[in-house]
Symmetry: C2
Amino acid sequence: MAVYTDVAADDLAEFLLAYDIGELLSYKGIAEGVENTNFLLHTSRGSFILTLYEKRVAAEDLPYFLSLMAHLASRGVSCPQPEKNRDGEICGTLSGRPAVIINFLEGVWPRRPNVAQCAGVGEALAKMHLAGRDFPLVRKNPLSVKGWWALFEQAASGADPLQHGLRALLHAELDHLDHAWPKHLPEGVIHADLFPDNVFFIGDKLSGLIDFPFACNDILAYDVAICLNAWCFEPDHSFNVTKARAFLNGYNRGRPLEAAEQDALPLLARGAALRFLLTRLVDSLNVPAGALVRPKDPLEYARKLRFHQSVNSIRDYGVETSGLVA
Amino acid sequence: MAVYTDVAADDLAEFLLAYDIGELLSYKGIAEGVENTNFLLHTSRGSFILTLYEKRVAAEDLPYFLSLMAHLASRGVSCPQPEKNRDGEICGTLSGRPAVIINFLEGVWPRRPNVAQCAGVGEALAKMHLAGRDFPLVRKNPLSVKGWWALFEQAASGADPLQHGLRALLHAELDHLDHAWPKHLPEGVIHADLFPDNVFFIGDKLSGLIDFPFACNDILAYDVAICLNAWCFEPDHSFNVTKARAFLNGYNRGRPLEAAEQDALPLLARGAALRFLLTRLVDSLNVPAGALVRPKDPLEYARKLRFHQSVNSIRDYGVETSGLVA
């Protein structure tokens, strides 16, 4: 949500000489991405996104994300594709920062996803999981169960002031998940952050998945569980079983969930809710003075966590086991 | 430099139904404009800028700016043109705010203007002044001499802490300008803020003038004086007489400065320097806590003011009087 680094037109034009993407016509800093600087470029060949990576840590993981996008795009997943320069490199340097150009995906993200869009994101997620099967790089998920304990340490002091009893809830849930977390479910490349603002549509037709900085190797059904949290609740926090059914059936059409994955889904959904509850709690305790971006409400995910705790089986998410396997 | 208002895709798509600009493909909040929210839209017909006006005061002056852009564009000035909706209106309502769509101008603004670009902006300014001659609406300049006294009242207390003696300089200069300010020079529509970030180029070719919220009716040569300040100094604050000559000759090719305007130019340039010195001083005293935008340096304009005080005639700006009239 910020432009941290201005780039002079001359410097940009010179940088672009190394690429075969046409003559620069215009560039605008866009208000997307919390940690990086993004520009929307128009050239004589079309539209592109230029990202300057502001943080060292992001640069370390760049090869994984960039190779993954290229890999997925080459297998028909609609996602941005990094542009190689004339030396075959996908990461250059501009204004002293790692700089990457990707093609621009048209589409808008749904502020209020409808049922058809939930079905679409299910299909796209399955397609992404299948396309990632032969991706050779590996990145462990730093925000899985073990990472949650570290977040808990940072967030614990702020829990009860926000909601009485929240700290105990977090601790008990972490304890439970740490012991019960499944160890033998199918794993692969997951997006790990496939919220509506990372999925573009033109009308109801999905036009692309974006923003892969959290992508990693983990349990595939955990990605499904994240989407259940991100797509299937209404603004009043009620669970919309019609959207969940559409999403799960959409996923199942591309990659049928195995019986063990179906059984584990309520637990994985609790884990996903806890993960976003913890990171939001940490973020809300670390708001820079005068920040323009309002931190997201952690308690939204406390409510979702309690909902998933009440779920007995995947049937409570709107689908019959048999229906999914069929 | 901010996106204040998010707009849901559905709301935007519905808003666009009233316009004949094609199907919405994407929209991005762009980091431009200090007081309004701007989105870059891609539609099946091309690119557009959607502006939501956040401040009441801006909305009051909208008819002047919007009519002016339409007027200038119809007379061949490269500037954005407001899109009319199917009812013939150029101002609608979106997310509870006045909302205007203009066509998108390709081009980049020069962070380091070169001589050819200075010549280009001179030509474009003259063309704009000529095109504005038959514009029927009138808006007095709220930031002319009388307005400067009000700014001085707000800024005076912060002057000496910034630079010893600055308050006395400001007061003496204001006194002088108030008495000496010319009363019989040609007037018309001026841009009043034609800094490099408001002028687009593709290479050295000027592609358009943007951002008319300060446009008003005032002394035409005062607009020339503003550009002398905005375009003809180097980052080390030295005056670049080659750029000034190119700029003034460019202007003169379109609209030759009269003898009285030439004589008044050093005084008008002092006024222009004082105006930006005062507004920057006021801005620097009113930075919201934690603001992301660093206020611009007022002292840059104290130096420019002192330079213009040392100027004897337009010859010191690099041109011969005869050369201009020729």
